[in-house]
């Protein structure tokens, strides 16, 4: 019997074209840890025509929200997100890096008003997409180590 490396899923989400080595960070963004109830498949360092090497993450019985997709865009702007329903690709979405990252990055500057108890969400303006550079909308300071600040 031939063993398939990665089997098709019935319902859920396939995140493809993740830059090689970043699959575990994608899992972290999706909050996939001990308490997950559905099957999660991770393929790392898979040959890819377009990218040379890539990672793939499949999450069964779960569709992603817009914010989760924005977060993935911050670390893997090349990724595509396929929604699978009854073994078919029901929706194919390419992640796009938003112009503004709202509520998905933690604030770093302790002297910024957005870090005080005010009724606002964090908001970062994307200054450059490659390399990724973001600055706080309020204090105008650049956020270092963006990945470490993903909520």
């Amino acid at each position: 019997m031939r063993e398939l490396r990665v089997t098709p899923i019935k319902n859920g989400t396939v995140i493809d074209h993740i830059p090689a080595g970043l699959a575990l960070k994608v899992l972290k963004i999706l909050g996939i840890g001990d308490s997950v109830t559905s099957t999660v498949t991770v393929a790392m360092h898979v040959p890819s025509h377009a990218m040379g090497w890539k990672d793939i993450v499949k999450v069964e019985d779960r569709e992603l929200g817009a914010r989760e997709i924005d977060k993935i865009a911050l670390i893997a702007p090349t990724a595509s997100v396929n929604v699978i329903r009854n073994y078919n690709v029901a929706e194919k979405r390419r992640v796009t890096l938003p112009d503004r990252a709202v509520g998905i990055l933690r604030r770093a500057n302790p002297n910024c008003i957005s870090n005080v108890r005010e009724p606002i969400e964090s908001e970062f303006v994307v200054r450059s997409k490659s390399p990724l550079r973001v600055v706080c909308k309020y204090c105008d300071r650049e956020l270092e180590e963006i990945v470490a600040h993903i909520v």
């Binding site: 002297n111 008003i113 005010e118 204090c139 105008d140 300071r141």
Partner: protein
Amino acid sequence: MSDFRGRDVLSIREFSRADIQLVLRTAKKMVPIALGEKRSRSLEGTILANLFYEPSTRTRLSFESAMARLGGRVLGFSGVEGTSVQKGETLADTIRMVEAYSDAIVLRHPQEGAARLAAEFTEKPVINAGDGAGQHPTQTLLDLYTIWDEKGEVEGQTVALVGDLRYGRTVHSLAYALAELGAHLTFVSPPTLEMPHEILEHLKEQGLSFRIAHRLHEVIRDVDVLYVTRIQKERFPDPQEYEAVVGSYRIDTEALREAKRGLIVMHPLPRVMEIAPEVDRTKHAVYFKQAFNAVPVRMALLDLILGGSE
């Protein structure tokens, strides 16, 4: 009707060259009123809220004076003692309350970005009067006004910014605005307090040339405007090193010996040791005039924003 009516003043970088020129020209017309030689009631019936979350003498008093000279009224607080802020009220809530009592809000706050947040919670215009280590756009406007008024124009002037160019963000804002208006920039500082790399990069991207020096005497002969900033003791781990650095950037008559006749010396004040008192008596010293200019410049902004001249 001017584009200024109802406008927020949060950062000088939101001001175009034409915007800045309009403020400067309007400020010039305000001078006789600021001096008490002419009367104006152009803002009669309007109320300015002056919210100073931390102490300030010059900025707060000059806004009060500006509003009073135009016939308007001022309410507000200076320091948060005894206010609802002390009970833990958010800035957002304070702003929504004050909005109902006034036509425009001036805000000085210790946190960076406070004025931008305030502007999100009110339809009334918000004027940033300093947000921690962030922006202080009305200071930049009065600095530009002083150069324009003393020298006739800003374009083509060689302006040397001297002192701590690394940490002071107001000096960064001033550098952007001067570049925008076509001044030639020279940066004079100790190597550890140089203008940050990203600002130099920005100036290069704009096709602007500038000069960097570590000693004032290397550049003094070429300078039209000397803008001196305070070097703060906290920036130096070693007090002796601080004393040495401050001493070497001190402006006295000896340091100005080779200066152009028309050189002007500016300082945002308060000064500590940066400028010797003997310089006050020379025609180079314009820093007290600069402090006075705060009034006509803030009058101009208030009048444009609150539509007094319409």
